[in-house]
Amino acid sequence: MARTSDLAFLAWAQRLAWVSALGGAMLALVGCGGPPSEIQSALSITSRALVVVDEELSPRADAAGLECEDSSETLAEWRGCFRGWKTADAALTNAGRALRLAQLARDGWEQGSDSGSFFAAVPCLLVALEELAEGLEGLGVEIPEEITGALGLIGALGGGSCDG
């Protein structure tokens, strides 16, 4: 009779084999012709995640502006109080810009350019999403699971450094 640890190892080995097979299949897809449809889906899902964050942040930013007015004596003080919201807004805008650039690069790939521009855009998108998550954390806003999912999806598309 199999021990629990043997069964766990068996389950782990099966899962590892499944992951390896799927990973290999994805790489094979990337290797032939234009971008696989999973890439467009990942970009769409990430876009929807940004919309969720935007809907979450917007009313809070309105409220925070008023709270900062109540707790500040001068405009400089108000700016200090509101700084975190400015940072989060800049991070959200930057993530939107990085997504649009990734979409352009993916479209170029579809129209016959090589995949290099797209895979060069991925690390910048990943950095932008990480900065957004940090911005939310800095405000004490819970990071929506949509963003965690988007980080996973984009991270799975590739790593590397964001140059420029």
Partner: protein
């Protein structure tokens, strides 16, 4: 160590499952069809800045 590895494999499996499921979306929208031209948060931030500037300048 073994547990960490299992967690890692479970996470990776989840991610790949998400990617594959996402690929089953027949008509994934493009980024520009989903993102607004300007985020509501940016408008809220600008509105808050204007309101604060007006308030504190009028107090001088």
């Amino acid at each position: 160590m073994g547990k960490d590895l299992l967690k890692l494999v479970a996470t990776l499996s989840g991610l790949i499952y998400e990617i594959v499921s996402a690929g089953e979306d027949d008509d994934p929208q493009r980024v520009q069809d989903i993102l607004p031209t300007e985020f509501r948060t940016s408008l809220s931030v600008k509105r808050a800045e204007l309101r604060a500037a007006r308030k504190f300048r009028s107090q001088r």
